[in-house]
Symmetry: C2
C-alpha cells in the first residue's frame, strides 16, 4: 500500500497483504492510506486564536496576518488550520491534539501573555513553532519594535506640547501591551511628562468609550490619549464628542494601528502604520525554513512609520 511499508525490512508479504485487506475493508483509498502511513507531512500549519470573540470582530490585524501567512504557505502548497479557543488552556489542548495526530507540521503562536506557558510546552513537545510578537530562546520568532513604536508616538506628542498623556490599552495580560506601558512610563519619567496608564479595555469600542469618559472626568484630565488600535480610537472619539472636546484642538489622539477608519474619521487620526500581512509572510518563511531543517531564527521587524494626521496637530 505505502512505499514506506512496502520497503520496510522485517514485514512479511503476508502481513502487508493483511494490512492492505483490513485497510480496504475499512474503506481506505490508497491515497488516504499512503498519507496516513507516511506521516511525513500534514501539509498544514496551525494557528489558534484565543481571545473573546467580540474582541477581534472588527480588527483588520488578524485577517491581514492570516492572509499574509496563507499567501506564503500557499506557495509551498500548505494549508492553514485555524481554530478559535476560549483561553490559553484550551489552546494548549488543541496544540497537543494537533501534534499527537500530526494534523499540523508546525504552529504559529500569537498574543503572547506575560509568563506564557505555551512556548515552553511547544518546545518540550518538539513542535516547530514561530512566535509572532515576542522573542524566544528556542523557538522561531517575528518580533515587532514595541519600544520604538511608543517612543515615536511620545516624541511626537511632546513636540506638539502635550504634558499629560494617557494610554487606553487592550488586555494588559498581553506581553506586547505591558511592554508598551513600560516604555511609556520610562520615557515619561525621563522627559518629565505625566503618563497615565488607564485600566485596560476588552478591545471593544464600548469599553474604550467608557474608559475615555472616566479619563476626561477624572482629576488629571489628559491633553493626549494613545489608543491601542483603531476600534478603541473610534470609541474614544465618541466619548470626546459627547463631552464636547475637539480632537486636534483641546486634545491630541494617536492610534497604535492604522486602517481606513483612521483616514476617514474627522479629524483624521494620527496612527502607526504596520502591515500585518508582512508579519504573516515573515512568520511563514521562518517556519518553512525550520520545517526544512533550518535553525529557529528570529526576524526583527523594522519600526513602522507614524502617519501624522490632524488628530494630533494641536494649534
Amino acid at each position: 500500500m505505502s512505499f514506506t511499508l512496502n520497503d520496510r525490512p522485517g514485514v512479511s508479504e503476508e502481513t502487508r497483504k493483511r494490512i492492505a485487506a483490513v485497510a480496504r475493508d475499512m474503506g481506505w483509498s490508497p491515497n488516504a492510506a499512503a498519507r496516513a502511513l507516511s506521516v511525513r507531512s500534514a501539509g498544514a500549519i496551525g494557528l489558534v486564536i484565543a481571545r473573546p470573540e467580540q474582541s477581534f470582530s472588527s480588527e483588520r490585524f488578524f485577517f491581514e496576518l492570516i492572509v499574509g501567512l496563507q499567501s506564503q504557505l500557499s506557495a509551498d502548497g500548505k494549508a492553514l488550520v485555524l481554530q478559535v479557543a476560549k483561553d490559553v488552556n484550551e489552546e494548549s489542548e488543541i496544540h497537543r491534539r494537533w501534534w499527537s495526530g500530526r494534523t499540523v507540521d508546525g504552529i504559529i503562536l500569537i498574543d503572547l501573555r506575560e509568563n506564557d506557558p505555551r512556548p515552553a510546552t511547544l518546545a518540550q513537545l518538539g513542535v516547530p513553532t514561530v512566535i509572532v510578537g515576542q522573542p524566544s530562546d528556542s523557538l522561531g520568532a517575528v518580533v515587532g519594535d514595541e519600544e520604538g513604536i511608543m517612543r515615536k508616538i511620545l516624541e511626537h506628542l511632546i513636540e506638539e506640547g502635550c504634558t499629560r498623556i494617557a494610554y487606553v490599552s487592550g488586555f494588559t495580560s498581553l506581553a506586547h501591551i505591558t511592554q508598551r506601558a513600560r516604555t511609556l512610563s520610562q520615557i515619561g519619567r525621563k522627559r518629565g511628562i505625566e503618563v497615565q496608564l488607564s485600566t485596560a479595555t476588552d478591545f471593544t469600542e464600548d469599553s474604550a468609550l467608557e474608559h475615555t469618559k472616566e479619563l476626561l472626568q477624572g482629576p488629571r484630565r489628559p491633553d493626549a490619549i494613545i489608543y491601542d488600535n483603531e476600534i478603541l480610537t473610534l470609541g474614544g472619539y465618541q466619548a470626546l464628542r459627547t463631552l464636547g472636546f475637539t480632537v486636534g484642538e483641546d486634545i491630541a489622539v494617536v492610534s497604535c494601528e492604522d486602517s481606513a477608519i483612521c483616514r476617514v474619521l474627522t479629524p483624521a487620526v494620527t496612527a502607526i502604520h504596520r502591515e500585518p500581512s508582512t508579519v504573516g509572510v515573515h512568520a511563514a518563511e521562518v517556519l518553512t525554513s525550520m520545517l526544512a531543517g533550518g535553525p529557529a531564527t528570529t526576524v526583527l521587524e523594522e519600526t513602522p512609520e507614524l502617519i501624522v494626521r490632524a488628530s494630533s496637530q494641536l494649534r
Copy 2:
C-alpha cells in the same frame, strides 16, 4: 492499537502486534495511529478563498464569516482548514487533494461564479458541502436575499427622488453580483428609472475611484450611486470630493455592506447591515448536521436592514 482494529474479526493477534510494531517503529504515537487507522473524521472543515489577494485585504466580510464558522465548529471540536488560491481551478485541485487525503470532512464553498463547475464536482466526489450565497439541488446552502437587498435600496432611492441610478460593483463573474445587477435592471424598467451598470471594479478602493470619476464625467451623470461594499464606497467618496460633489445633496450614495467605515465617513453612509458571522454560523450548522447523516438543507437568510444615514437623504 486502535479500537476499531482490535475489534475487527478476522485479524489475528499476531497481525495486530506486527502492525503495532511497524507503527511504533515508524514513530507513531498511539493517538496518531488511532486517528490514522480510523479515518472516520479529519476533525476539520475546509474553506478555500479564490480571489486576488488585494481584493479582500480590507474587507471585514471574510474575517467575520470565518469567525462565525469557527465559533460554531469549535463547539464541535472541529478546526477550519483555510487556503488561499489564485483561481477556481486551483481551488478545485485543493478540494481533490483534501478529499483524497481526508484532510477535511466537508467543505464550505464561497464566491460562486456564474456556471460554476465546483458544486457539480464536489457533489460527484461525494464531499459534504455547504454553499454560501447560492441555492443548490444536491448540496447544503445558506442563501442571502440579494433581490430583497437591491429592492430595498432602490425603493429608498426612488423615494428620495433619484431617477438615474448607477451600480459600481465588484467582479461581475460572481453569481450574487450578476443577480444584483439583474434585479436593479428589472425594477428600474418596471419603475421607469434609469439604471446604469458600470463596468465592474476589482474590489479595490482605487478602481472604485476611477469608475466613479468616469460615471460623473460621462454623458449620463447619475444622481445616486450604489457600491458593492464599504471599500468601494471609500474610493467613490474620494472621486466625488475631488470633482466637487456634495454627497447627500448633489448625489445619493448607498453601500451594500455596512461597517465602522460607513458610520464614520462624512456624511455617514446609508448601508445594508448584514452579520457575516451569522452566515458562518448557519453554514457550519448545516454542514455539521450533514456530517451526522442529515439531509443537505438550505437556510434562507432574512433580508437584512437598510440603515439610512445622511449620504442618501437628499434635501
